[in-house]
């Protein structure tokens, strides 16, 4: 085609060379942009008001609550130092006896695969409302979404204990009116009626419970950690080469060698203990060649990517679902060392109602709905694999009903386990930095 020499923009017509040039430039810009946008997602929030808080914490004068230990602007809860959070005048409990909001939209925040959609559908029908779900991939992103003030989020399903105190201090969480949540008293374990991290359950309700244990392929490993004098030795004495995985977070990974050493309160570990734990884990990495830190235990072990995996019990129970051949469930074993008196973690997360919500009554009612015995069971079997701390869940009942194979009954957490195990709790900022730095060094292989 002849080019019109008079055309004023003939020099800018896109030929093949220019196309390649610009396509290449786009090739650079797009991946960088994705990374940039990812960073923005975590960074664009404002500072919360700190009031007159000091880092002394734990004193009676702390504006956010009483009890706990110091080290943060708000009290840090410990089993032997429970925290009673202060209900602020500008964030009161809602009145009792109010009718649920009609034809309203309830905004739910949750982890992926963390609530049975059938339960929400049934709730919508019962209360003539619409539920909009927003997913978050980690607590940090979830908190950032709430704190951005850009959504009328009513309820968060699965807030970790590590984030509870700071969220109460930042006034992201609404206090609970227990009149709307009778299932707490009726169905939930006694220890959660007034837990140490929130005395009186004023701001939180328990959601999922799990233990952190050892998950392995019994057809590939010829050793049973349950029969070892120190079960954690399995990671040090018999780690399968290239097939040993640990969880992908600082507290779980570094707590494991501490538990092996007999430490029961890992939240109080000092710098020396953290360094030793890091070196211990590094020694495992050295032995197995290619260690992996991930949360894919529920697929890694069934698929044979890992033969030995540090695991949350909820993921172990989920793993059965991912088996190509269900009879292969016989090859999966899970053991929580805490069940035989060894140190070990048993934890829970929470349901919290959010101050940003516009339908507080419905939010209360949904929390109550999730603590219904039948609903908790449906949630476990249909979707999450993580049990709730309701009385109807016992290892015996799960096995008898055919939901859990007998040899995997160990994945069910009982109320007594909470008396045996340690808890993974919020650390002081300085200590948190030490834990996270040590884990980052492990991830980096240095």
């Amino acid at each position: 085609m002849a080019i019109d020499p008079k055309h004023p923009y003939r020099g800018t017509a896109m030929d093949r060379r220019a196309f390649l040039l610009r396509a290449a430039a786009a090739g650079i810009a797009l991946p960088s942009m994705a990374a940039i946008l990812a960073a923005c997602g975590s960074g664009a929030q404002e500072t919360v008001a700190t009031g007159s808080a000091t880092t002394s914490g734990g004193s009676a004068t702390n504006p956010y609550g009483t009890g706990g230990i110091g080290g943060a602007p708000y009290p840090l809860a410990r089993i032997d130092a429970p925290v009673t959070w202060t209900v602020q005048a500008d964030n009161p409990v809602i009145d009792s006896g109010m009718a649920p909001e009609k034809n309203a939209t309830l905004q739910v925040m949750r982890w992926p695969f963390y609530i049975d959609p059938g339960l929400l559908k049934a709730f919508e029908q019962k209360y003539e409302c619409t539920i909009v779900q927003t997913q978050f991939s980690d607590m940090d992103k979830g908190i950032a979404k709430i704190n951005s003030g850009q959504g009328d989020f009513d309820i968060m399903i699965g807030m970790s204990l590590q984030y509870l105190g700071r969220s109460i201090a930042a006034k992201l969480i609404r206090p609970i009116n227990h009149d709307y949540v009778p299932n707490l008293k009726a169905n939930v374990y006694g220890s959660f009626q007034s837990p140490f991290y929130d005395v009186g359950a004023q701001f939180s309700l328990p959601y999922a419970v799990w233990s952190t244990g050892i998950f392995w392929r019994n057809d590939k490993l010829d050793i049973d950690p349950a029969n070892m004098s120190n079960p954690y030795d399995v990671f040090f004495d018999h780690p399968p080469k290239d097939k040993t995985h640990l969880l992908a977070n600082a507290q779980d990974v570094l707590a494991m060698p501490m538990f092996r050493d007999g430490v029961t309160d890992v939240n109080a570990a000092d710098a020396a203990a953290i360094t030793k734990a890091k070196e211990d884990v590094a020694s495992i990495a050295q032995m197995v060649g290619n260690i992996s830190y991930d949360h894919d235990d529920y697929t890694d072990v069934p698929e044979g990517k890992a033969y030995l995996h540090q695991t949350w019990s909820g993921n172990a129970s989920d793993a059965v679902v991912f088996l190509a051949n269900k009879s292969d469930a016989d090859n999966l074993s899970y053991y929580w060392p805490g069940s035989d008196g060894h140190p070990g973690n048993v934890d829970n997360d929470t349901i919290v109602l959010l101050t940003s919500g516009k339908t507080p009554v419905l939010a209360h009612l949904l929390a109550n709905w999730l603590l219904e015995n039948g609903n908790a069971l449906a949630n476990f079997t249909n979707m999450t694999g993580y049990q709730q701390p309701v009385h109807s869940f016992t290892p015996r009942s799960m096995v008898d009903s055919g939901i859990v194979p007998a040899h995997l009954a160990t994945v069910i957490v009982s109320e007594e386990d909470f008396a045996k195990g340690s808890r993974e709790l919020e650390l002081t900022p300085d200590l948190d930095t030490l834990w996270q730095s040590a884990f980052q060094e492990l991830q980096s292989g240095v």
């Binding site: 940039i36 664009a44 929030q45």
Partner: protein, 323 residues
Amino acid sequence: MSSGTTSLTRRERRAQERFAARERGAWAPRWFWPGFSAPATIYLLVFFAFPFYVVMAVTFGSVDPILRQPVPAWNPATWSPAILTFTMSNIVHSDGLYYAAFINTFFFVGIATFLCLLIGYPFAYFLARRAGRFRALFLVAFFAPFWISYMLRMLAWISLLQDEGYVNKALEKLGVIAHPYPWLSGKPVTLILGLVYGYVPFMILPLFATLDRIPASQLEAGRDLGASPARTFRRVTLPQSRQAILAGFVICGLPMFGDYFTQQLLASTPKTRMIGNAIKDSLDVPIFVQRGAALILVLLVILVPAIMYYLWSTNRAASEITA
């Protein structure tokens, strides 16, 4: 100062501009065609320039004392370089947190991009020169798997590469291996193959676009002058596809620098950690988000010379053609 132009009224100036435009053969005012780039310009400003500034504000900002999340410092006068200094120090020292990730990335991306070229060039040549009427069929057949999302394709590879997967079964049957090879246990070879599989189309497309447009008459002329097919390729085809190779390296190679997903799914271990993984791991921990943001800045700065070289090379080639 006064001139003939400035003494004209606004209406006269417009009339003069319209007359000049008509003389140039343009039927629209000067701003008309550049105005077409406005949406893209606005898009880039909103989704690239501003987020880029946010990344800088996060890098040089602080951490909220209660929520322990990064607080951007919008005013450059308040920027603190501590995190960037820390990050740089951990990149350049051999025992630093990010040193291995950077070395790994350059190594894996270099090999993977070169393999993409080795695989992509012959295929693009075949499509352009030899596929004949089956060209469209070959194109569709090759690119069909890429209509499926990247994540699903990588998940499929997990099934294929696991101990009891088809790859190990086939290799065992052929007698290549006696026991299943642990492909998914953090092996660099798996990561490189994953990168090649994921990005090779981006190498093929620019190569095909260029090779397809080399006139057959030039190749025939080379042979008429006594050159062997290999010599014709070396002296005629290859020089003319040089810019496409460069474009392929850029389009295919540079996205790999930010890739973290392939490593995470196929070879998740510290030994195969790439820059993208270091960034993601940092962004996953609230108190380390600033480090992740600093790594993004450093990565961008590292990639700038590569794109500058590419632009310089392309412009030089263009000026040689027009000279």
